[in-house]
């Protein structure tokens, strides 16, 4: 089995698609870091101008100003309940920072890392995994090399398992690469790692109201481990689905197309029919796992971290059952 997995990993590396993915990550993270730096400077300049002070180093003033802005917005009676709860989370965070004397305006590499994963977990990360996983079987069908594999004295399930394991290693590699690269680039841009900084998490929105009973502080380092672990859960699920499509469809282009359109289409669907009970079982709406940590607004009410993880695991398991079932009895006709 080791030799089979080794073969699959060799193939994935030699195909160079992995390096395309790494290249995309490099470009995107650099752009993201530059943009983050730019908007941060602009905000500070604006706040300083409004407050009429020249020295913007006093983070307490800036934070208080932000809090006042938020409170003013909360007074607006036309904000829907969900939006109100999410604003309350922000306000509560700012109050907490002031109370605990934590400076939230400094931006560290650790914060950038978690921001980047939070922004990519529902679309960009799945996209990269699709690029890697959707051709793992279909490429062999397209080029005909599947015949070489299937005529060895190795049972079919072992061949699929080796591909599955190789893909899982690769998913992990992408997550590590995302973490490493975003850390390095952000460290160069923002100057310090900040892994010991505290982050507050544990907000929940229940029936449109903020439930602050479970609020906790964790170090930014630990927070990042949590965020990237959740990222791996998403990568794992999407990887299994991509493998299934790759088994079902012969052409790589079709496999990537099907996965992309279901990823994007499902997200649209979740916006339009968010009242429908079944929507919560679509994998797309459960991809934003990191929002449960940061207290961001969920597209559908009543989701919880446990629920979303269970739904994603169910999708992964279902995809695996279909993959094995089809692959075991498939006829390789042409």
């Amino acid at each position: 089995m080791y030799n089979l997995v080794g073969n699959e990993i060799l193939k994935l590396f030699m195909k160079r698609r992995l390096f395309v993915v790494f290249g995309i990550l490099l470009v995107l993270i650099s752009l993201f870091a530059y943009g983050e730096q730019y908007t941060r400077e602009r905000t500070q300049a604006r706040v300083a101008e409004r407050l009429g002070i020249e020295d913007i180093d006093d983070w307490r003033e800036i934070t208080k100003q932000q809090l006042r802005d938020l409170e003013r917005r909360l007074e607006n009676p036309f904000i829907p309940d969900e939006g109100r709860a999410s604003l309350e989370v922000r306000a509560e965070q700012l109050r907490y920072y002031l109370r605990e004397d934590i400076n939230p305006t400094t931006f560290s590499a650790g914060q950038f890392m978690s921001n980047f994963m939070e922004q990519s977990i529902f679309l960009f990360l799945p996209l990269l995994i699709i690029l890697l996983g959707a051709d793992i079987v279909s490429k062999e069908s397209t080029t005909g090399t599947i015949k070489l594999l299937m005529t060895r004295p190795v049972p079919r399930w072992k061949i699929l398992t080796s591909k599955l394991l190789a893909l899982m290693v690769l998913e992990m590699l992408v997550i590590f690469f995302m973490a490493g690269l975003s850390f390095l680039i952000a460290y160069f841009t923002f100057g310090h790692a900040g892994f010991s900084e505290p982050v507050i998490t544990g907000f929940r929105i229940v029936n449109g109201n903020l439930d602050a009973s479970n609020i906790r502080t964790v170090s930014l380092g630990l927070y990042n481990i949590m965020v990237y672990s959740l990222g791996y859960i998403v990568a794992f699920t999407i990887g299994k689905m991509a493998l299934m499509v790759s088994v079902l469809v012969k052409s790589t282009a079709a496999a990537i197309g099907i996965m992309m359109s279901s990823l994007i289409g499902g997200t649209f669907l979740s916006f339009f029919i968010s009242d429908w009970e079944l929507t919560r079982y679509i994998f797309n709406v459960n991809l934003r796992l990191t929002d449960f940590l940061s207290g961001n607004l969920q597209p559908i009410e009543g989701l919880s971290l446990q629920f979303s993880v269970i739904v994603l695991m169910a999708w992964a398991l279902g995809s695996m059952i279909v993959s094995y079932g089809v692959f075991q009895y498939k006829d390789f006709m042409d």
């Binding site: 030799n3 080794g6 073969n7 193939k11 030699m14 090399t145 060895r152 004295p153 006829d331």
Partner: protein, 312 residues
């Protein structure tokens, strides 16, 4: 070649028993049975869509049979796939390889999926097919002929008992084809390898194989040895008096004579007797318009047996 001749006891390496395949309620393969012995080159012949490739794919487990049994070296492909495949080397249709890997990496990846193929064995195969100079280049830089050679190396490196080749000389130049033919014959004769080969080039089949099966619309129409086909060749005579000519030839020379028309007959005789027969006929007063040698070949047999397929 009679099946029950017990003078030379040969081992069956491949046995198909009433193999059928139905796809979407349409019966593609309608019950094929055949036995292939070690040291034998067996040809699979048929027009496009007759079911050659489907049958070959069922033998190597790429397509699952609906009914019947396939045994390789005594192991059932259905129940004992791994054991059965341990003794098979094959090239199914084009010799596709991982073109983003080098030739050597291809062989190594495939060898790691088999039992007991050493580095030396792979090297030996590379030099057998004459790819030493290019083996470290990526396969996408290879010509079709070189890919074909790599395919042969891949199929032979495990020392199979059965070799399955689908259209094997595709992409080889004439020198390569003749070299390949010699290789196949020598493997069959010296290493007692059973070879199942399909081809659409009839001339090639005629020189390469011991027996051929002609397959048409999913069934085997005829299994015949190449010797038999050669024996069916004869001499055509166009003469003034066919009855008298038949009598003269049959009385004086060993052979059979069939009357084919009012002035035409076919004599199955030793070619060396032709001058003597001609003299005798002339002496008996039979006038000969012309004499010609029949080129009854595999091609004639094939066309005869598969005639009318285009209309169906």
């Amino acid at each position: 070649m009679s099946e029950n001749s017990s003078s030379i006891e040969k081992t069956v390496v491949l046995e198909l028993t009433n193999v059928k395949k139905t796809i979407r309620k349409k019966e593609i393969i309608k019950g094929i049975s055949l036995s292939l012995y070690e040291g034998e080159v067996f040809g699979f012949l048929g027009p496009n869509g007759a079911g050659k490739t489907t049958t070959l794919r069922m033998i190597v487990g790429l397509i699952r049979m609906t009914e019947g049994e396939i045994k390789i070296g005594g192991y059932s492909v259905k129940k004992d796939f791994v054991k059965a495949m341990e003794s098979v080397g094959c090239i199914i249709e084009n010799p596709e390889m991982y073109d983003y890997l080098s030739g050597w990496e291809n062989l190594k990846v495939l060898a790691s999926m088999e039992k007991g193929i050493t580095k030396e064995r792979i090297k030996e195969m590379v030099s057998l097919v004459g790819l030493e100079k290019r083996i470290d280049d990526k396969v996408y830089t290879y010509s079709l002929g070189m890919k074909q050679r790599l395919g042969i190396a891949q199929a032979l490196m495990k020392r199979p008992k059965l070799l399955i080749l689908d259209e094997p000389t595709n992409g080889l130049d004439p020198a390569g084809i003749s070299e390949f033919r010699k290789l196949i014959r020598s493997l069959a004769e010296n290493e007692n390898l059973g070879v199942l080969v399909s081809s659409h080039i009839l001339a090639e089949m005629e020189v390469m194989t011991d027996r051929v099966a002609i397959i048409r619309q999913g069934s085997i129409v005829k299994v015949t040895s190449v010797e038999n086909i050669v024996r069916e060749k004869g001499i055509t005579y166009v003469v003034s008096d066919v009855e008298k000519a038949k009598a003269v030839i049959e009385e004086n020379f060993k052979g059979q004579v069939h009357i084919k028309g009012s002035d035409q007959l076919v004599a199955i005789i030793n070619e060396k007797d032709v001058p003597d027969i001609n003299q005798k006929l002339f002496a008996e007063g039979v006038l000969i318009q012309y004499v010609s040698k029949n080129q009854k070949s595999l091609e004639d047999l094939f066309l005869e047996l598969t005639a009318g397929d285009e209309i169906v």
